[in-house]
């Protein structure tokens, strides 16, 4: 349970809000590289942290992320012409470069220097691992580039999608660290989904529906260990890392690619659910990539030409009561991503946490909220750089392994939890 003011604190990420300021300390996924594929391609409008922005790649391939609206009369520059190293407003021809600097005001003499006095707000936009990342904080505090393993392996070893989720970011992210729902909501997919099935560890999930949890703070966030009974004197551990503020990893299954998410606020009532899959030591197979494109695993099928899931609230998520009744899916919704999203969107645009009733096993969620509030307060009061900004904090891996009963998971899985170049994931 959160008091209303706490819920507001954690769910509002617009400019000037405490959580908004916290988010503005980090590099965040803004677009897929495929959205700006070549110089002078069509610009893309986007909203992040409640700010309307325009992204474009200029004639030299430079990336820009600027205020969406022309400084002259407020026209959306999405209608602009991306030409000759700038985006030109179609209304009166004002032109802006990737830094937001106005470089041409056709109605004014060049000698007047009028254009030099006009500059749109801009943010850095960099390409890494097939993703365009932005940093929306103070320029003097810009951190080093992100080092999450999925964006540092060769491109043929990694695959990223994003989908629109019409809910506040926090209820989406909390699903990513809530390990106890997997045995229920996603139970059908462990044996059917091509990106999950066949792993030896799956049997432990299916046999033991009451995992026991341990939550341990980590430099960048949390490690949440869920343990289930295994053979002899061993436990089957599934360890979920959370890196502040919005990166979560799903513990792996067998030799399937590793996956997880970023949950990036669009505004307070919607977010982008980014879904990555990668393998640390080998290229993804054609079958794996094909399955991911087909919406298997944590990915979804799209409404063609968009990043909106094909199963969405406008079609009741293609609810299939017969499949639910037959036990083919537990909730009647197909696919892990939409099983989660359908329930999280059903909470309403911003979940009212004053009415929830958490239990002891929800401590991962409680601790994550606590750390977010603590970090936002420390940032506001002392300017403390929050956990998860340091790229060293990104070099964490999810793991699934068997450990003896008397071994502490953080110790026993110490090496497994480190991202190491050329070293395979630890998985059962």
């Amino acid at each position: 349970m959160l008091r209303k003011e706490q819920n507001d604190y954690l769910t509002q990420t617009g400019p000037g809000t405490p959580l908004g300021n916290l988010f503005r300390c980090y590099w965040m996924p803004a677009l897929l590289a495929e959205e700006l594929p070549e110089p002078d391609c069509p610009p893309v409008r986007l909203k992040l942290l409640s700010e309307r922005l325009l992204a474009f790649r200029d004639s030299e391939g430079k990336l820009g992320l600027i205020d969406e609206f022309c400084a002259h009369r407020g026209v959306s520059l999405w209608f602009g012409r991306n030409e000759e190293c700038g985006i030109r407003c179609p209304y009166h021809g004002w032109k802006f470069d990737v830094s937001g600097q106005c470089v041409e005001v056709p109605s004014e003499p060049v000698e007047s220097g009028y254009a030099k006095k006009i500059k749109l707000k801009s943010y850095p936009l960099i390409e890494k691992g097939g993703v365009l990342w932005t940093y929306m904080g103070p320029p003097e505090k810009q951190p080093p580039e992100p080092e999450f393993e999925f964006c540092t392996v060769p491109l043929n070893q990694t695959f990223m999608t994003k989908r629109l989720q019409e809910s506040n970011w926090l209820q989406a992210m909390e699903g990513g660290i809530d390990s106890s729902h997997v045995s229920w909501l996603h139970r059908g997919d462990l044996s059917n989904d091509p990106l999950f099935k066949g792993a030896a560890g799956n049997k432990y999930n299916m046999k033991d529906l009451s995992p026991v949890f341990e939550v341990v703070e980590n430099d960048g966030g949390l490690l949440i260990g869920a343990r289930r009974n295994a053979e002899d004197d061993q436990y089957y551990w599934r360890i979920t890392p959370w890196v502040m503020p919005c990166y979560t990893g799903v513990p792996p299954r067998g030799d399937h690619p590793i996956h997880g998410h970023f949950w990036v606020p669009i505004d307070d009532e919607s977010c982008w659910a980014w879904s990555y899959d990668y393998h640390p030591t080998r290229p993804l197979t054609e079958a794996e990539v094909s399955a991911m494109r087909d919406g298997k695993g944590i990915h979804v099928k799209y409404v063609p030409g968009t990043y909106i899931p094909a199963a969405n609230k406008n079609n009741d998520y293609l609810m299939n009561r017969a499949a639910q009744k037959a036990g083919k899916t537990f909730s009647g919704i197909e696919g892990i991503g939409m099983q989660d999203a359908s329930l999280q969107e059903s909470m309403g645009p911003i979940c009212d946490r004053t009415k929830e009733n958490l239990v002891g096993t929800d401590n991962g969620i409680i601790m994550a909220r606590h750390r977010l509030m603590r970090a936002a307060r420390a940032l506001a009061e002392k300017g403390t750089i929050p956990p998860g900004v340091d790229p060293e904090h990104h070099k964490v891996r999810q793991a699934a392994l068997l450990l003896k009963h008397d071994v502490q998971f953080k110790e026993g899985a110490k090496e497994a939890l480190k991202a190491k170049k050329g070293v395979r994931q630890t998985s059962v």
Partner: protein, 168 residues
């Protein structure tokens, strides 16, 4: 025409969520397992809690041994002795607090009481000055066999945050 889900997931529809309470007060027993944890717990106990009761020490009969003895008493923050079995029986769940590296083996006695009445035991390990990683490992080893959820917190402020979140 909008689908039912599209209509029902708007902010406007969320405002129609009924305002009646959906739960009753919880009886939560919060027990310090060692003197350092008791010192931490004492000021927290003075907060405005709903159904939480705080205990700063546990005593059990000399004849009893951890894991077997259930003849045990808890002392609350005002110094009153309460019977462990009765307290646990009247609870919804039990939270035990220990400081890193302190002897937390008494948890087994509480765990026996929880087992007897089928109550969930949550363990929380809070920091102590000068404690090492080995101390954390030792604390985890003490609590792991009994706790359904174990948390290693980096600050004692988490106790309050967790109890509030659990509506204690």
């Amino acid at each position: 025409m909008l689908s039912e889900s599209a209509r029902m997931t708007t902010a406007r529809e969320a405002s129609y969520r009924i305002q009646y309470p959906n739960s009753r007060e919880r009886a939560v027993k919060v027990i310090a397992l060692d003197p350092v944890a008791a010192t931490v717990l004492e000021p927290i106990s003075k907060g405005a809690w709903h159904g939480a009761a705080f205990f700063t020490s546990l005593n059990f009969a000399a004849t009893a041994t951890p894991g077997q003895g259930l003849d045990a008493w808890l002392k609350d923050v005002t110094g009153h002795a309460m019977n462990l079995i009765s307290e646990v029986a009247a609870s919804d769940f039990v939270v035990v607090i220990t400081s890193v590296g302190e002897d937390a083996r008494a948890v087994s006695v509480i765990a026996d009481a929880c087992k007897l009445h089928n109550k969930t035991l949550v363990g929380l390990i809070v920091p102590r000055e000068g404690a090492t990683d080995a101390d954390v490992t030792a604390s985890l080893a003490d609590l792991r066999p009994y706790a359904r959820m174990l948390v290693v917190a980096s600050g004692a402020d988490y106790i309050e945050a967790m109890l509030t979140a659990l509506r204690a």
